[in-house]
Amino acid sequence: MITENIERSISEPPGSVLTSAELQRYARRVGTLGVVDDDVVEVSNLQRQVSHGQSTLQMAKVDSARQRMADLNPYHQVVDGSDSFTTRYLVNDACFLLHRPYVWGSVFQFHGQASVFCTPAGPCYRRLYPEPPPPQFAPSCEEGGVFGAVCATVASVVHDVVEVRSTRSVPADSHSPVRTISATELAGRLARRRAGEDDAPGKSPPPIHRDGDRRLLQGRHPVRGCGPGSFAGQLRGQPPQGRRARLGERRRTPAPWLLRRRPSAGSRIKPEIEEGVA
C-alpha cells in the first residue's frame, strides 16, 4: 500500500513552540497538527511566534494559529493508494460528491499510474476506467508482485501533486494527465484525459450506482480482500490462512526477496523475475 505519512503533534506549552518549522510542516501537508495553548496574542510575541500577527492581537493563540494555518493551506487532501477497486470507486465517488480533488496512484510489478481526479473541470476516476477489470486481468500485488521502488516513485508523484495543489493555486480548468511510470524503461508517458460533458460544473454526476456498483464489484472480486485468510476475513473472526498463517515461517527466510509472486488460480501473469535477490 502506498500510505501517506500522517503525523500528529501536540504543541505544548504555548509560545514559540509553534515555530516556523511547524508552520512549514503544516504548509507541506504532513498531517494533523494539534495546538494546546491558554494564552492570547500580544505584541511582544510577534518577533518569534510567526503564526500570529498584528491582525490577531488579543485573540486566543489557538484561534490565531488555526486562522494562520487555514490561510496557508485550507485543503484537506484525499490521497488514495488503495489496492482494491471497491475502495477506489468508493473514494472517487465520495470526492466527486463532495467536490474534493482525488489524488490517486496505483502500481503493478515494475509499473505505476498516477493522476488527480474530481478537479473542478476534470474527470473523475470513472471516466478513466468506468468498470473494474475481472480479477484475472488485474492481479493484485500479492499475485502479480510489485517492485518496491516503483511504489516509492508513484508515492513521490502523488505527493508532488498533493503539494502543488495545496501550496499553489491550480487553474480551475487544469487537466492532469495520467502519468505512467515504468521502472524497466526509465521513462513514463502522459496520457491525456478528457472530462465528459457530465463532468462540467452544474451538470449531472457520472453514473454512480451505489448498490449496483457494490454488487458488481463483489461479483467481480468475490474473494480477494474479504474472504477467509484475508485481513478483513480475520477481522470477522475467520482463521488466518495462507500468507498470514505462514508469516512466521516467512520471517525466517534467510534471503531477501526482490520480487515475490505467489501462484493464484485466477492469475495468468507469469513472473518476469522469480526470486531475485536484492
Partner: protein
C-alpha cells in the same frame, strides 16, 4: 509473427502494451502492426497474439471499459473510437486499470 515483418517507419504503427498484457505477447512491450484504423490495428495485434482478444475487446467487439487506447496521447474514445484513422508513424498506447496500491 507476420505482423512485425514489414517496415514500421513506412507502413506500420507501434502499439505499446501495458504490463498486464505482456504475458499474452511473450513479454513484448511493443508490437508493430499495419496502419489503417484503430480497429484494424487491434485486429492485427490480436491476430499475432490471440490471447489478447479477451483482454482487449468485449464479446461485442468493443474496447473493454477498463482498457483505454490512446492515439499518441489522445484517448480514441474522444476521437472516432475504433474507426479512428491511424497513420504510419503514429503510436498507439494501451493502458489498463491496475489493481495494486
Amino acid at each position: 509473427m507476420a505482423a512485425i515483418s514489414f517496415d514500421v517507419k513506412r507502413t506500420g504503427i507501434t502499439v505499446s502494451l501495458p504490463a498486464v498484457m505482456q504475458s499474452a505477447t511473450g513479454g513484448r512491450r511493443e508490437v508493430a502492426v499495419c496502419s489503417g484504423t484503430v480497429e484494424q490495428a487491434l485486429n492485427g495485434l490480436i491476430e499475432a497474439f490471440p490471447d489478447l482478444l479477451p483482454r482487449l475487446l468485449t464479446e461485442q467487439k468493443q474496447i473493454h471499459r477498463f482498457v483505454n487506447v490512446y492515439l499518441d496521447d489522445e484517448d480514441v474514445r474522444f476521437l472516432q473510437g475504433l474507426d479512428t484513422p491511424v497513420l504510419p508513424g503514429q503510436q498507439l498506447t494501451i493502458l489498463s486499470a491496475i489493481a495494486g496500491g
